[in-house]
Symmetry: C2
Subunit: 197 residues, 2 copies
């Protein structure tokens, strides 16, 4: 087992529980997984900071600058990007509470445009979608989802189609989401068990 | 000439002036250049948002959420990343007013660690350094600068050495900085005039 900064090695003492992550957000799970993947040098993937428009900053004496007026901006890119096996990787992650479908309204048009550019420039692009009701997380290829999105006849993708066309992401403790195994299967066509960990 | 969103086509009417960019920050020049490179589909490179720790948010009725207490966080990565010719690209940009040297103290240790990982995972990593006194901007390979930084005997790199070991970045109007030409020369070993624009 590889050491993992800022985490106790819980995996040695707590039995695996399929539902341990219930209640943790997809973002928490991904941040945790990316920290693990960075720590063991498998990939270099970060969540981008949330874009914030700073309007007013106070500079109290002898303390750090304090932002006192700021607003969230609409992101112009996806939330996650980095490098894996020499390739640029870029994805957006979304959760839905729906039992039946993932609504396209939760994807910003900017993010679709960005992912199209990722593919054009030779990067790997996808979506990670969690159905929190079922506690299931899937990886969907960007090309596939974008063509559905741009087809325009549907405003969502059904849970059934996500199960059918998506790649189910295995869950664990370290990492919380083994999503790079899905990336291996989909984009590197190599058996992970023979690959570089 | 390729159309350029949100910009008037000033290059047709205003004569080129070597010093037009004086007074514009390196960050402005790079944001402008990256917008141009994105618009003409040459590369997909963005500045990451500044990481901010939000402490308190107000939700005034019928208006956008207002952040009323927040602080700047130390960045754990570099400021710029993206994709160019299928490769992950990652860099940090810094200006100095010094006439004689660029001080290593202006690079966060986190950023050095991050760029080492970029290189390890097969990305292209570098620094863009501007000497604002001379109005000159250089690209320095990450491997080169990191080995100097980690050597530990010097706390800066002299202007002379930046001139000698760096790659001078040509300046224009669109883009403000032709830094991808330097990337071509250093990392793709191909003649830009024969390359894809």
């Amino acid at each position: 087992m590889i050491g993992y900064p800022n985490k106790k090695n819980l995996h040695n003492t707590i039995p695996f529980d399929n539902h341990m992550s219930r209640g943790m957000s997809l973002e928490d799970d991904l941040n945790d997984s990316n920290a693990y993947y960075r720590a063991c040098d498998r990939a270099l993937i970060h969540k981008k900071p949330t874009p914030i428009q700073v309007v007013k900053v106070d500079y109290p004496a002898r303390t750090a600058a304090k932002i006192v007026e700021a607003y969230y901006k609409t992101p112009s890119t996806t939330d996650y990007n980095g490098i894996y096996k020499g390739k640029a990787i870029d994805f957006e992650a979304k959760e839905t509470r729906s039992k039946t479908s993932f609504p396209f309204s939760s994807i910003h048009p900017h993010q679709i445009e960005h992912l199209k550019k990722v593919l054009f420039h030779g990067g790997i692009g996808f979506f990670i979608i969690r159905f929190s009701y079922y506690d299931e997380t899937y990886l969907l290829d960007a090309n596939f989802l974008i063509s559905l999105y741009e087809n325009g006849t549907k405003k969502s993708i059904s849970y059934k189609d996500v199960k059918k066309h998506g790649s189910f992401i295995r869950r664990g403790l370290t990492p919380k989401l083994y999503y790079l195994d899905n990336v291996d299967t989909l984009y590197f066509k190599e058996d992970y068990s023979n690959g570089k960990k």
